[in-house]
Amino acid sequence: MEDFRFKKSWLSALVLLTFLVLAACSSDEEGGASEEGEAAEDPDTITAWAWDPNFNIAALETAKESYDGDVELDVIENAQDDIVSKLNTGLSSGTMKGMPNIVLIEDQRAQSFLQSYPEAFFPIDDYINPEDFASYKLAPTSLDDKQYGLPFDTGVTGLFFRTDYLEEAGYTMEDLTDITWEEYIEIGQDVKETTGKDMISLDPNDLGLIRVMIQSAGAWYVDEEGTNVNIEGNEPLRKAFENYKAMMEADFVKANSDWSQFIASFNSGDVATVPSGNWIGASIEAEESQAGDWAVAPIPRLDMEGAVNASNQGGSSFYVLNVPGKEKAAEFLGQTFGENEEFYQDLVNDVGAIGTYTPASDGEAYQTENEFFGGQSLISDFSTWVEDIPSVNYGMHTYSIEDILAAEMQNYLKGKSLDDAFADAQAQAEAQLK
């Protein structure tokens, strides 16, 4: 009896094992070929990956409503970092299995994907007219004269500020308009002295503000080709670092180490200004008790030739993957985000998203006054600034260079000379990217 049971259980174990081995063997043979094999069928349902239910996912849902083509769109929510991991794993495995039709990618990461997986994306030149979009969005979303990304939201920056605090220190909207970062720092000191409030909240590990500063002067961590590291001798970057240090030393910075602390810094009323991409507006409006206390001025500029009071932080675009259903996906994007002005008015009204499709900015919805921001025509102001954003080639190494720069920033703040810090960063970045 015992022996019989014994045999039976080992038998089932063996069957399971054989099955596993078979599964593994078949995987190896088909790994490379499967992508071609499945391309025949054209699905009725296309899938899209995006990350913010109140923002880009809502935008896709709105697009779905305004689209009358014969396709079912399935929007799947994934955190942005998760999308990056999933895409990298999926695309590099070469199987394309499980990949969506449409995916949202942050502009600063786009080149890295386009160049790393040349066959994986589907050009959409035939479905949109790139010239309809803000010019600064085109460089990051295209490669080798082919347009891959459909430019979606702008990360146009503004200087969000507490009107009550600034007034107490003797400043009006006009005093904050078209200023330099040096002037901003002076104002900050006044605000701190009179109101006791900090001017800004910064995370010492996050160089987001540095990027905002240098793009306003048309510069980046890499040169115009997007390939060569441009740190040593990069004047805008030098100015940005100097401004950053001046802020840190001015004693009006409330340090944060986390997104939630950053949001808390202004929701609690502890800081007077938030220089940021326009998307921070939703988080500011979340604290209803501060309604009427906020306004938005143009972002300060670097004190140098060619710098403008407009920059960008964040912002993303839609990409079509080279999988069955790609034509349908491109058609869908082309006929909604690519040409439908009406849809863009809905986007502003219902979602609060500012697109980068220029013909849409004359629409009525763009003129709406925002009560929370004291009746300011926020959308209209933002879309005016969008036109001034200098176009830069982000290249494909923004985040790896930034990690190197963040380490050197620490050294600089502790007293290392900027020349040495930049020379070291340049050498290290070149070694890493060769």
């Binding site: 174990a13 596993l20 695309l91 890295s112 920033m409 070694a431």
Partner: protein, 308 residues
């Protein structure tokens, strides 16, 4: 004591018995481990082999080409890698011993039959390792923030006069990480000891007590030797865990300030996903962990004097 440790099914004696019986045992031994060996070969060794091949390639995303040993050479002149390696060893040398001792201590206290509220204490001390990482990252950042509770507490005690910048000072950030890892994993290690303590014969303690041994002596002369296999197990597991430490760093400091808290695993993640993906170089860095763990485990086995 020798009775308990005596191994009847002991290894190499089997051959002295009749060949038939040995053959049968040997054959059954294979059956017991068959599934595990097959599964691990399939789901670990095969991908590890692929990763080894990858470590000789370099390039972005799917544009990989063979570069020979270039990746391995590149390691030695990569300051980020060297920083990550140094940090990881600092974590290892300071954190693992603290945690193991603390876990042993807790388990002995909680194994006392006369202690009240055992269930509560056990659950409480275990709870950190089931608490979601997201929550504990948020709260650690809050606790260790400039105006966080830790600073308030230290200032109330007059231990410091100025709030400390825990997360943006290179040394303090490392201390925060070590505190976070210890907080999270001590209870985890404790349950291995608690479960193993049940296998120690109570009568040994009684005999020792009659002979007048203090609880200190009982701990070092009965508990520690009896738990040796499990202590060895947990120290190897913790070594591997710390060498691969990722979650805490990713969620609490993100490697910063600069790269003062960056770990090897975090660097691998950055190379694969955060930067332009270079899976080849990432695989090379992974194999460095493998080599390190093998060396360290061999040392630990030797030190613990595994019975052969």
């Amino acid at each position: 004591m020798s009775k308990v440790v005596n191994r009847a099914g002991s290894p190499y004696l089997e051959r002295n018995k009749s060949f038939g019986r040995w053959y049968r045992k040997n054959y059954i031994g294979w059956l017991f481990i068959l599934l595990a060996v097959a599964g691990i070969s399939l789901f670990y060794f095969y991908p590890m082999g692929r990763a080894l091949l990858l470590s000789f390639q370099s390039g972005m995303g799917s544009n990989l080409e063979y570069v020979g040993l270039n990746n391995y050479i590149r390691l030695f002149s990569d300051p980020t890698f060297i920083a990550a390696l140094t940090n990881t060893f600092i974590y290892l040398l300071i954190q693992v011993p603290i945690m193991i001792l603390l876990a042993l201590f807790f388990s002995v206290l909680l194994n006392d039959a006369t202690l009240k509220f055992k269930g509560f204490f056990r659950t409480a001390i275990f709870l950190p390792c089931v608490t979601s990482l997201v929550a504990y990252a948020v709260i650690f950042k809050y606790l260790f923030g400039v105006d966080g509770l830790i600073n308030q507490f230290l200032m109330d005690l007059s231990l410091i006069s100025q709030p400390l910048n825990w997360l943006s000072d290179p040394v303090l950030a490392k201390i925060t990480i070590i505190a976070a890892i210890t907080w999270r994993w001590t209870g985890y290690n404790m349950i291995f000891y608690l479960s193993a303590l049940q296998n120690i014969d109570r009568s040994m303690y009684e005999a020792a007590r009659i002979d007048g041994a203090t609880s200190f002596q009982q701990f070092f002369y009965i508990t520690v030797p009896m738990l040796k296999p499990i202590i060895l197990f947990t120290s190897i597991i913790s070594t591997i865990g710390t060498l691969q430490i990722f979650d805490e760093i990713m969620n609490i400091t993100n490697g910063g300030p600069g790269n003062a808290t960056l770990s090897i695993s975090m660097y691998i993640y950055n190379l694969s996903f955060e930067y332009s993906p270079d899976f080849g170089y990432a695989a090379t860095v992974s194999y460095v962990i493998v080599i390190l763990v093998v060396i360290l485990s061999l040392i630990q086995f030797k030190v613990a004097g595994d019975d052969k």
